[in-house]
Structures are given as C-alpha cells and as structure tokens.
C-alpha cells in the first residue's frame, strides 16, 4: 500500500501564538514532501475533524500526522479507523505551553517534533488485528463466597461459567461459621448465614456448570483459548474457557507455630477457627472438660503483624473475636470475656459492632502484649500481659484462651515452583558433580513448594500466578485490583488480599467484570488493560533469533513460551503490548507495526542537531507514556517552562527501551539522554510490573557503550517519576539539562 501522508497542524490553544505556522508547513511540505498539509485554528472542532475526514474519504490521504495537543487529549475527536496509521505530535503541552513565544529555540523544538512524528508515521504500517476462535466462557476456581459470587455475576451477565471446587461442597468458610458479620445499619446484628442459599442459586443456574471434589490437572493456551483439564473424582474433563477467576480463598495461619502463645501446651488454648467450630456445634466450651468457660481470654494478632510470623493484618480477626465474645455472652451473660489487643481493627461501620460488644458489662478490652501463656494445674491457663495501657504488667487466670489467628492466601508461588522444577530437572540430568549439588541445595530450599500447584499453567514462567509480597498473587493492588501477572486470570477474594465475606463479594464482582472484559477484548483481537483496545501485537522475525531467551524470561506476563531449543513461542492473546520483549531483544527482531526499534531510531535521527559551534545542546528524554508523559502534560497545563534543548519520545513502557537507541542518540550528536520511568521495587507503580526495573538493569550495560565512545557517564541519567510528579519532573529535567550544558558538547556532533 502506498502511503499518502496528510499533516494536520492545529494553531489553537496558544500553539499559533507561540510557533510560526509557516515554519511547520515548510517542514511538512518541503522537507517531508507531504502531499497534504493543512493548518486549522480549531482542529479538534467539528470543522477541523471534517477537514481530515474529507481528505480520508476522498482518498487524498491514508496516513495521518496530527500536530496538536497531547496524545492523551481529544482522543474522541481524533478517532478514526483504529487500524490506520496515525501519529500524533504534541505541540501544545510539549511546546506552546512550556516554552516562550517567538524564540528561535521554541520554533526549532516544534519543527523537530513534527519531523519526528512524520518520520515515525513513515515507518508505521496499518494494523491487522488477530483473528481466532475465542471462547467467552469463564472458569471460576474455588467455591467459597468469592467463587460463588463471581460465577453468579458472570452467569447473570450472560456468560457460561465453569466452577471448580476442590472439596465436596460449596460455600467455603462462610458455610463454616455460626453467623456472618453484620452488613447493614445499625451494624449491631448479624444477618442469617446464607451460604446454602448462595450455593443453591449457583447449582440451579442454567449457565453454571459446577465440579466439586475436582482439581485442575493442566491449564494450556491463552485468554480466549484456555484448555483446562479437570480431574473429578471419577474422570478427566477438558473444558475450553476464555478467562479464569482464581478465588481459592485462604487458610488459617498454622497454630503449631504459636507455641509461644501456649498453643499445644494446654488443651484450653484454641484458635478462633476451633472456637467457631464449637460455636457452630452448640456453644464454645473448654476442651479439657467440656465445661462452658467462665473466663475466656482472646489474644488478638496471634501470629500476625510480626516479622517472624505474618507481617500483615488480616483485618477480619478482630470482628471474629467480637462475634465470638457475643456468642459467649449469649450463652452466659455472666461469662467474662477479656480481649488483649494491639489495635482493634474494625474497619468502617464495624466500629458499631465493636461498641456494642464493648459495652457489655462482662467485656474487658486491654491493649497490651501477651508475653506468656502457661497451663495451671486446675486446667486453667495463666496469661501474662505486658506493655499494657494500665499500670504495668498483670497476670490473669482464665478457663479458655482463644488465639485470633490470621489469613494465609491459598496461592502457589509460581516462580518458586518454576525454580524448583528447573532444579529438579538439573538433578536428574546430573551433568556435573558441582551442578548437581547446587541444584540439590535449591531443591532442598524450595521443597515446601512441591505439589502446591493450583492452576497448573503450561507456561514457561511457571505453573501459577506469580506472587507479590506476603504470597498474595496480586499484580498491583493500588492501581489495578484483581489483575494478576497472567493475562486473562484474575484473583478475587481472600487469595488476593485478606478480607471478609463482604469484601470477597465485592471483589468477586469486580474480578468477574475483568474476566468478561478480557474475553470480549480477546474476541476483538484487542489488548486488555492497561492498553485496553490496542490492536497491535509484536511480530517475531525468528530467522534471526539466537535463542537467548531474554524475551521469554523478561515478559512480565509470561506471554512467551519456548520450544526445546529455546526459540520463543509467542501467545498473542496473553500479550499486553508493553513492548518489554522488544526492548529486551539484542537482535532487535521483535517489533509492532506501529512501534519498533527502527521507528524510534528514525525519530531520533529526524531531530536536527545544531553544529558544535552553535553551542545549543540537544537532550533526548525517553518518557514512560503512563506516568512521566501525563506528568509532563500536567506540567504544561501549569505552564511550567522546560529547557528548550529537550526532545521527548514517549515509550509504551520504559521496559520497551532498546539500548541501541541510546547509542543512536549519542552518535547522532545528542549531548545527553534521560530516562523517566515509574517507581520500581516492592511498591512498584509500573503498569507492566517490571518496565523501569528492566530498563535500569539494561542501563548498567550502557556504561560500556559510553566507555567505547569515550563519553562521560553523566550524560545518561534515569529518574523515577510518578503520575503526580508534575512539579518535580520538570525540575529534574531542567536540572539535568543544566548539568549537560556545563559539559563539553558531544564530540560526535556532525558525524
């Protein structure tokens, strides 16, 4: 297809006042030989867009360069055929709103941006969406409250659902408690336990297929095309589904590790789960003699919020304790209940329930630390409490001690399992004595992960969802709840984060919605969140592949498997189009039709670098499209002035940065290169999990490049910038520009 380029330049929103339009038109018409170049004072208005549509319809143009505002603005006005080649050049936030009018440097900046946009459009190709048979069924793993809700919500929305439950009955932990927590004002009375009703609704729903006493043997494929092999008690079944909701819930923290709180030393020290079971069976009793306790002491945060145990708060144990206190008071109004807490965590309106229980004449609450729990000869238990808010430590003899233990996610650590499998394979191969002993040590250290698989994903990066901190398989709970690091698989309920039934219900509804979005977008061949609707996907020029496996290892979403030789096997529906593989590939064989190593390199080369004598430095800024670019846009809105030497190239993710661009920039005469990515580490803010981390690691290798070119290492700098760093980021950029201006010019100018 021949490209017929049309360049449309808007002069509204101060652009025309700051930049000479004829200069821009000259770049488009004379330098770039664009057959059509039009300017308009209100390009996003009906008249302006009509201008573009007319040219498209008449066939005068089929490739658009729109030089107006930020790519994030007016997306609805400039929305044409999504497959068509269209590049937007930001003259407003990046030039007019952040630079002075009438200056030579401002004009040069605007013209460079137009050149870069035209150069990129020249390399881009129209998109051809994936087409494939896509299943819209949804697999729900786990039949607790989250699983039941997700199944029901998806089915109600019209989707076929397969629900798999490991045990023989549905209802999860809700079915095992006497009463749920109060959910309605005035939050002082518990509703009836509706686990049976919820189970019935799911069992009777025509679009929900339920498998109990069933586990997953294998999950193959990709979103829209998952083939899941189920092992029921009698047979193996394979179902095809489009997306998966993982609602595998939680397990209690192992009380065997709570010897310090007396568990095991006396029969009359029980966990909150054991107490609940007694309450369900009748009433809470002292295990030693089955007598109802006169004095019961609850120890909150038993094995929680401590470095040597669970470091987090499970947010539900306090409510469980309050409810059990109420059970005890109902059974015997004179029974005394003591609660030793670190902090009572009764979020939101649960506070009302706390107040109610606290005001009971036989409730006693004390902040303090239990330092010893020991049996007494008469079956009683002596508890010592220190660091109290009263006067000093005290000891108390009670009939029963209840440990309020926390929640551990029912998840499998994908990466650990993968490492274990690799090590086990190495032990079997037994290639050398040294290798075998090393592998055996790894196997020993990861033994606890053996046979912990849940989803059994046939993925190169491991059989389950990768876990974040504390073993929860979340991708990033601040920005994207329910998202996991495996496309099309969403975590919901207590497996995602400690929560109660109300939280799990809400969570499951959200995850069901994400699963529906996933199958619907897959059916369009489009990406899911965060680049929802993106039709591009990477192509692998495998003839030149050296099987280095960097792409298969670095893909944050496990989209790329590999064959026995290590050649990548790309699964397009798993892909989120971040381009991390493209940045990783040393052979530069991975590219999108609208985003490639070559395109960015052409943009770099399109910049007119002034001669050394002019003493006008040029700085290239690779900016993450998701955080740094919007931060710069907001800086523009505040009219923050930027150094005129800086040329910004937005990247899908800083992880898609290929190191060759830095070499290109330096050899083109750029005096400095700056990278602006997201925060990384445990509290990462990257949309693609590891982008800035990977870019940082690659940047370390650049030091060699600089040495080869005999350049100062200060010429390259990487910064972390968040969405809301719109005041800080311009400062960082201007400071960097100041430091570059202090250096000698890049000696490679003019080569």
């Amino acid at each position: 297809m021949d490209k017929k380029l049309g360049v449309y330049i808007c002069s509204g929103c101060e652009i025309g006042e700051k930049i000479a339009m004829d200069g821009l038109v000259r770049v488009a018409e004379k330098e770039s030989k664009a057959p059509v170049c039009r300017t308009h004072p209100f390009l996003c208005g009906p008249e302006g867009t009509a201008l573009i549509r007319q040219d498209l319809e008449s066939g005068a143009v089929n490739t658009l360069v729109i030089a107006a505002c930020s790519t994030r603005d007016k997306t609805d006005a400039f929305s044409f055929d999504p497959r068509m080649v269209m590049e937007r050049v930001d003259l407003r936030e990046r030039v007019a709103w952040s630079h002075p009018a009438g200056e030579e440097d401002t004009q040069a900046l605007a013209e460079d941006y137009l050149r870069m946009g035209i150069a990129k459009a020249g390399k881009m190709e129209p998109l051809e969406p994936m087409t494939g048979e896509v299943s819209k069924a949804i697999l729900v793993v786990g039949g607790g409250i989250a699983g039941l809700t997700a199944a029901l919500e998806a089915a109600k929305a019209g989707y076929e659902v397969v629900l798999v439950e490991k045990s023989e009955r549905l209802g999860g932990s809700l079915a095992e408690v006497k009463r749920p927590t109060p959910l309605k004002a005035p939050y002082t009375a518990s509703p009836t336990n509706d686990a049976q009703e919820r189970t019935r609704l799911v069992m009777e729903h025509p679009r929900i297929q339920v498998f109990t006493t069933t586990t997953i043997l294998r999950t193959e494929g990709q979103p829209g095309q998952f083939d899941v092999t189920l092992a029921t008690s009698s047979q193996q079944v394979t179902v095809r589904v489009g997306a998966i909701v993982m609602a595998t819930g939680w397990k209690p923290y192992d009380p065997a590790r709570l010897n310090e709180l007396g568990y095991g030393s006396s029969a009359n020290v029980v966990t909150n789960l054991e107490a609940e079971r007694m309450a369900v069976e009748g009433r809470i009793r002292r295990p030693s003699d089955k007598k109802p306790p006169q004095r019961t002491l609850f120890i909150q945060c038993a094995g929680s919020r401590r470095g040597d145990h669970l470091p987090y708060c499970s947010s539900v144990c306090c409510m469980a304790t309050l409810q059990q206190a109420e059970y005890l008071h109902e059974a015997d109004p004179n029974a005394e209940v003591y609660v030793i807490y670190q902090d009572m965590m009764t979020p939101g309106p649960y506070e009302k329930f706390y107040q109610k229980v606290q005001e009971h004449p036989r409730s006693f609450f004390m902040k303090g630390e239990v330092t010893s729990v020991g049996p007494r000869p008469d079956g009683q238990v002596r508890v010592r409490v220190e660091h109290t808010l009263a006067n000093g430590p005290f000891e108390i003899d009670v009939d029963l001690v209840v440990l309020a233990t926390g929640m551990v996610p029912n998840a499998a650590d994908s990466e650990a399992i993968r490492s274990l499998h690799d090590a086990q394979a190495k032990v079997l191969r037994n290639e050398s004595e040294k290798q075998r002993t090393e592998a055996e040590a790894v196997v020993a250290s990861l033994r606890q992960h053996e046979n912990t698989e849940i989803l059994h994903l046939a993925y190169r990066q491991g059989p389950d969802l990768p876990v974040l901190r504390h073993g929860f398989p979340d991708s990033n709970f601040i920005c994207f709840p329910y998202e996991s690091q495996r496309t099309g698989i969403y975590a919901a309920g207590a497996v995602r984060s400690p929560m109660d039934w109300a939280g799990a219900e809400e969570d499951a509804t959200g995850a069901a919605m994400k699963a529906i979005q996933s199958v619907e977008l897959a059916s369009l061949g489009a990406a899911v969140h965060p680049r929802a609707g993106d039709l591009s996907f990477p192509f692998f020029n495998l003839q030149r592949c050296t099987q280095c496996k960097r792409c298969t290892v670095e893909c944050p979403f496990g989209a790329i498997d590999e064959d026995e030789k290590g050649t990548p096997k790309f699964n397009p529906y798993r892909c989120r189009r971040c381009g991390v593989c493209m940045g990783a590939c040393p052979e530069r064989i991975i590219s999108f039709k609208n985003y490639s190593v070559d395109m960015i390199a052409s943009m770099i080369k399109a910049v007119e670098v002034p001669e050394e004598e002019e003493e006008k430095p040029r700085i290239l800024l690779f900016a993450c499209e998701n955080d740094a670019v919007p931060a710069l846009d907001m800086a523009g809105m505040e009219r923050t002035q930027l150094d005129a030497s800086v040329r910004v190239i937005p990247l899908r993710c800083l992880g898609s940065m290929n190191m060759v661009w830095i070499a290109d920039a330096l050899s083109s005469g750029f005096d400095g290169v700056m990278l602006a990515g997201c925060k990384h580490g445990d509290d990462y803010q990257c949309h693609f999990v590891r982008g800035s981390e990977l870019a940082g690691r690659r940047l370390d290798n650049v030091k060699e490049t600089l040495q080869r070119l005999q350049l100062e290492s200060e010429r390259i700098e990487m910064v972390e910038a968040a969405f809301d760093d719109y005041r800080r980021l311009p400062q960082l950029i201007n400071d960097f520009a100041g430091r570059i201006r202090a250096l000698d010019p890049n000696p490679y100018k003019g080569f």
Partner: protein, 400 residues
C-alpha cells in the same frame, strides 16, 4: 515477691462506678484524647485515660491508691473532646464519690450516692434529730413589740428560744463526730496512697524532706485553687468562670464560718450588736458572695448545657441546695434580728438555720463537702511522692 497483680475484674466495683455517675465508662476505647485535653495531666502522671481503663477492669485497689481522681477539678474538658462520649470527667467524679463512700464507715454515703430517696431519708432523719434535740431545751417564743428597728434586740429573743449554750454543746459534739469520721477516711487514704507502687512494682518513695513542701503545696492549692484555674478553656464571661464561682462559694462560706466562730468567741451569746458590727458585716458579705456562687452553679445546672453542669447527680443537687438553704436562712436570720417584732416565722427561720447548719456539718464526710479534706490530702500525698521533673530548657514548658 511477684510484682504483678493476678488481675480479675472486680465486677461489684465496676457496678458501683457505673451507678455513681460513670455510666458511660464502658464506652472508652483508650484513644487518650481526654489525657491530651486535660491541662493538669502531665507526662509523669497522665489522667484520666489510665483511670478509665483501670475502672473498666475493676482495679479497685489501684484506683484507691491513686491520687489522680483528686487532682481533677471536673472542668469537663476531657468529656468535651471524648469521641465516644465515654464521660471521663464523670468517671473521675464517680471515682471520688466511690472513695468518699468507701471512707465512710457508716455506709450512709454509699446509700446517699446510689439513691435519691436514701439521700432524702438520711437528710430527714438528721434534720428531725437535730430539731428535736434543739427543741428539747427551748425557752418558748416571746411575742409582742419589744424594740425599735435595728436595735438588734431580736437576737436576745432568738437565743432565748433556743439557748445559745445548747447550740454550742451540740456543735461541739457534731464537730467531734466529724473528726472521728474523717480520721478514719484520712488514715485509710494515707495508708493506701503511701503503699502505692509505680509501674515497675516499686513502692513510691516519700522522703521526709519533701513533706513540708508538700503540705505547703496542698495548703496553697486549697487556698488559691491555682490548678483549677489552669483547667478550663473557659470562653464565657469571667464572672462565670468555674474557678471564680467555686471561689465565691468557698470564700463566702469560710467568711460565714469565721464570722460565726468569732461571734461566739468575742462576745456573749445572744447579745445585741448593731448591723455595722465587724463580725456581722463579714458574715453578711460572705453570705452574699456565697449566694452569688451558688446561684450561678444552680442556674448552670438548670440549663444543663455542657459539662460539667449537664450530668449533675442528685447528690450534687442536694449538697448545693443544702448549702444554699443554710446560707439563705442564715442571711434571713441576720435580717430578722433587726426586725421590731419577733414572729413565729422569724423563730422558724432561726431554727431551720441551725438545723440545716448542723446537717451540713454532720453530713460533711458523706457528701461532696468531704472533698475539702480528701482533695487537700491527696494533693499533699501526690506532691510528696512526686519525683521532681527533669529540668528542661523548653521555654514554653508550663508545668512548673
């Protein structure tokens, strides 16, 4: 020796505190907003947060050995900021009432605090007793015109009706009984507070050298109520400041007491004096000042808009009204002695005044009145055991 208590809540004690005014005690969730709002709470001795917790857990002994409830002047700052409306000020008051009733061996105080009817009954019994006792020696009412106005001859007739010597004898007996009653309370308090242990389980030190300064501190505090003045962020008129109101009642009462005592000591009983006689002027002025304070306290309690006036117990009302009635009848008697004709009404007012004054005195160890002794004593013991605060160079430090 084990320094920790084998704790077990004293549920009877908790019930008492709830019944004596701390009814919202259980609502406290230990945020300590009260302690930070209290201008008398210090880093070394924080209250009332800790007392709330100890009361919730029924730690009776620890609370009885703690002077903190007596350091509180019930300004209500803490209750105003309490996010749970747990009424820390009311609990501190309840703890004081508990202490008073605990130190009263007769058990009457407990009855009076817990029941309005009990309170009235005790009052009626005492009043009847004193009335009968006084009338047992009465000399009859003398009627008719016997003098010019302002001759002051009225007092002669009044003291013929109830002989002054007889009143004096009864008064001595009443004071002896108060003394005995208070002695028990004082000794109990001293014993408990001097056996107080600090948070490490060590007994507090009461160095002899610090005794006199501590007594000086307590007496000065009793005189000027300097700490009470720090208390409240009072926003209204200065004439309504609780410190001033309390001062008016206290100093007015003291003036009357002194006038009565001197009256007795320096002139023959029942002898006539002119209105400008110094003791007479002192007594009248004291009565008016006291009446001013009482009227403010009473009107505040009637409007009951904010702490500390919104949660008055019957015992509070009783004490105020008893005091007001005593002062009023006293002032009226002061007028009656200058009237030209003795009347039955005049004799009755005189009799009532003596009965009410006797009631007020005999019930002193049982009512709010007892704070005069216990607060002063607790202040002295608190100051005595107080570890001097480390010298800081902070200019803003107000805790001198």
């Amino acid at each position: 020796m084990d320094k920790t208590s084998i704790g077990r809540p004293d549920n009877d004690f908790i019930q008492d505190v709830l019944a004596l005014g701390g009814e919202d005690l259980k609502k406290c969730y230990q945020c300590a907003a009260c302690t930070s709002a209290c201008s008398l709470s210090t880093e070394q001795n924080g209250f009332p947060r800790k007392q709330m917790l100890m009361a919730q857990w029924g730690m009776k002994d620890k609370l009885l050995e703690d002077p903190s409830p007596w350091l509180c002047y019930y300004c209500g700052d803490c209750s105003k900021v309490c996010p749970r409306q747990a009424g820390p000020a009311e609990t501190m008051m309840a703890l004081r009432r508990y202490a008073i009733s605990r130190y009263d061996v007769t058990g009457l105080a407990r009855l009076m605090y817990r029941s309005a009817i009990g309170n009235i009954l005790v009052f009626l019994v005492f009043s009847t007793f004193f009335t009968l006792l006084l009338l047992s020696q009465h000399g009859g009412m003398q009627m008719g015109s016997n003098g010019a106005i302002f001759s002051g001859l009225g007092s002669t007739y009044l003291f013929q009706y109830i002989p002054g010597e007889w009143i004096h004898k009864i008064g001595i007996a009443v004071f002896a009984m108060i003394g005995a009653s208070l002695a028990f309370g004082v000794l109990s308090m001293v014993y408990r507070m001097m056996n107080k242990k600090d948070h490490t389980g060590e007994r507090l030190a009461f160095p002899i050298a610090a005794l006199l300064p501590a007594i000086w501190f307590a007496v000065m505090e009793a005189i000027n109520h300097h700490r009470f003045r720090q208390c409240e962020k009072h926003e209204g008129s200065v004439y309504l400041h609780p410190w001033l109101v309390h001062g008016a009642i206290m100093w007015g009462f003291l003036a009357m007491l002194v006038a009565t005592a001197l009256d007795y000591l320096i002139k023959p009983i029942g002898s006539s004096v002119p209105p400008w006689y110094p003791m007479r002027i002192l007594g009248t002025l004291g009565g008016l000042v006291c009446l001013y304070g009482l009227s403010v306290a009473i009107t505040h309690r009637i409007s009951a808009k904010e702490t500390p006036y919104d949660k008055s117990s019957f015992s509070d009302w009783f004490f105020l009204l008893l005091l007001a009635a005593t002062v009023l009848t006293g002032l009226l008697t002061g007028i009656i002695v200058y009237m030209p004709h003795p009347t039955v009404f005049g004799y009755m007012i005189f009799l009532s005044h003596i009965v009410l004054a006797m009631d007020l005195l005999i019930m002193m160890p049982l009512t709010k009145f007892a704070h005069v002794v216990y607060r002063t004593l607790a202040l002295a013991l608190y100051q005595w055991a107080r570890v001097p605060a480390p010298q800081t160079v902070t200019v803003t430090s107000s805790d001198a």
